[in-house]
């Protein structure tokens, strides 16, 4: 149980081991630990960020949806209004057109009535003239009494 040169040998071994550990073992393992720590932290941060962004997007989407709904209802309203307007307007024009047609028809009827009257009058005049002619043919010279005849004809018209 004495101290001997083993001591020196052990010190050399120890020094070698420490040197090796310091040079080749500790740095890579420790670095990988640190790197993983960083990776995990980054991942967590990214996840949090992603969640936040998702929330934002959701909010935005709801906003857009709401706006779209508003717009669509506005459009529907406008269309309804326009349709009523169009219906009203067409009713108006239809009525006007109807009135006009009635007027035209009335005028036509009047005209036709006048024409019929004229025709009848002419026929009556011709008939009367022929009757008078036949009655008077014996005693009245047509050329002599031309004036009177045309006067009568005019009065009949």
């Amino acid at each position: 149980m004495s101290i001997n040169a083993t001591l020196i040998g052990q010190m050399i071994t120890f020094a070698l081991l420490v040197w090796f550990t310091m040079k080749y073992i500790w740095p890579p393992l420790f670095d990988s630990l640190e790197e993983r720590k960083k990776k995990i932290a980054d991942g967590l941060a990214a996840a949090e960020k992603g969640q936040e962004q998702m929330h934002l997007a959701e909010k935005k989407a709801t906003g857009v949806l709401k706006k779209a709904k508003e717009q669509s209802s506005e459009i529907v309203n406008l269309a309804q209004k326009r349709a009523t307007e169009i219906v009203e307007a067409s009713k108006d024009t239809a009525k006007k057109e109807g009135d006009r047609l009635i007027l035209v028809a009335k005028a036509q009827i009047e005209q036709e009535k006048q024409q019929a009257k004229e025709g009848l009058r002419k026929e009556v005049a011709a008939l009367a003239l022929r009757a008078a002619e036949q009655i008077l043919s014996a005693e009245i010279d047509k050329t002599k009494h031309q004036d009177i005849l045309s006067k009568i004809s005019n009065q009949l018209g």
Binding site: M1, T6, L7, I8, G9, M11, T13, M22, S32
Partner: protein
């Protein structure tokens, strides 16, 4: 001290035989081959395992080996961060080496006391003491190395004059200079001695008790050696841990400028 009486027979002879190292050479230049061999093999084991882990080290999902290595690295790193506040690239690897190496030394204690000497005797080796930490040379080699580092860093950080001032003027001021010096020297020298003797004493005693149990009749042996082995698992880890932590603390003190 044991070499002269190894011829003794009976229980004493058995015990002495088990605690006698395999030595070549005489006097100071003698070498305890078993201590050198086993500590080198265990050191190689430690380095091989960690090198394997370090080569495959990845920041992604770690494998089993890397996981275990990282567990130890993190454990040692926490200890270093707790008791050492300076910046030094050496301390943490040093602490890891001490912890693992001492643990493996001590672990040899858990092999049944007769197995490896039996294998040795079959190969014609008469004496074989398999636990390096039952050799004062091994424990002192480590504690003296640590002591040298303490002195080196004390001088490096505080400067030669600063270190000398600390030795002379603390803790009682310049008027009690010789007393201070004596106190400080004892304090400094006590560090490596207590480190080495604590580890040596614990493991030597533990090994001795295993040997004593091995002397009992076979039917009693398991009843005693099983609980002692279980208890020893705690001891060997604790001793490795204490050696490491005290090394960190001492080097931390060497780095602190008053």
């Amino acid at each position: 001290m044991a070499t002269e009486v190894h011829a003794a027979e009976g229980a004493t002879g058995y015990i002495i035989h088990h605690l006698t190292p395999l030595t070549v050479g005489e006097g100071f230049w003698a070498l305890n081959l078993d201590t050198l061999f086993f500590s080198a093999v265990l050191g190689g084991l430690f380095v091989w395992f960690f090198k394997m882990a370090a080569d495959k080290a990845t920041a992604g999902v770690p494998g089993l080996v890397q996981n275990f290595a990282e567990m130890l690295i993190e454990f040692v790193d926490n200890q270093v961060k707790d008791s050492f506040h300076g910046k030094n690239e050496l301390i943490a690897p040093l602490a890891l080496t001490i912890f693992c190496w001492v643990f493996l030394w001590n672990f040899m204690d858990l092999f049944p006391v007769d197995i490896l000497p039996l294998v040795g005797s079959l190969m014609g080796i008469e004496y074989l003491r398999v636990v390096p930490s039952t050799d004062l040379n091994a424990t002192f080699a480590m504690s003296i190395s640590v002591f040298c580092l303490i002195i080196f860093y004390s001088i490096k950080i505080k400067g030669p004059w600063g270190f000398a001032k600390e030795l002379m003027f603390q803790p009682f001021g310049p008027w009690l200079l010789p007393f201070n010096l004596l106190l400080k020297l004892v304090e400094e020298i006590a560090k490596p001695i207590s480190l080495a003797l604590r580890l040596f004493g614990n493991l030597y005693a533990g090994e001795l008790i295993f040997i004593l149990i091995a002397l009992l009749p076979w039917y009693i042996q398991p009843v005693l050696s099983f609980p002692w082995a279980i208890f020893h698992i705690l001891i060997i880890t604790l001793q490795a841990f204490i050696f490491m932590v005290l090394t960190i603390v001492y080097l931390g003190m060497a780095h602190e400028d008053h």
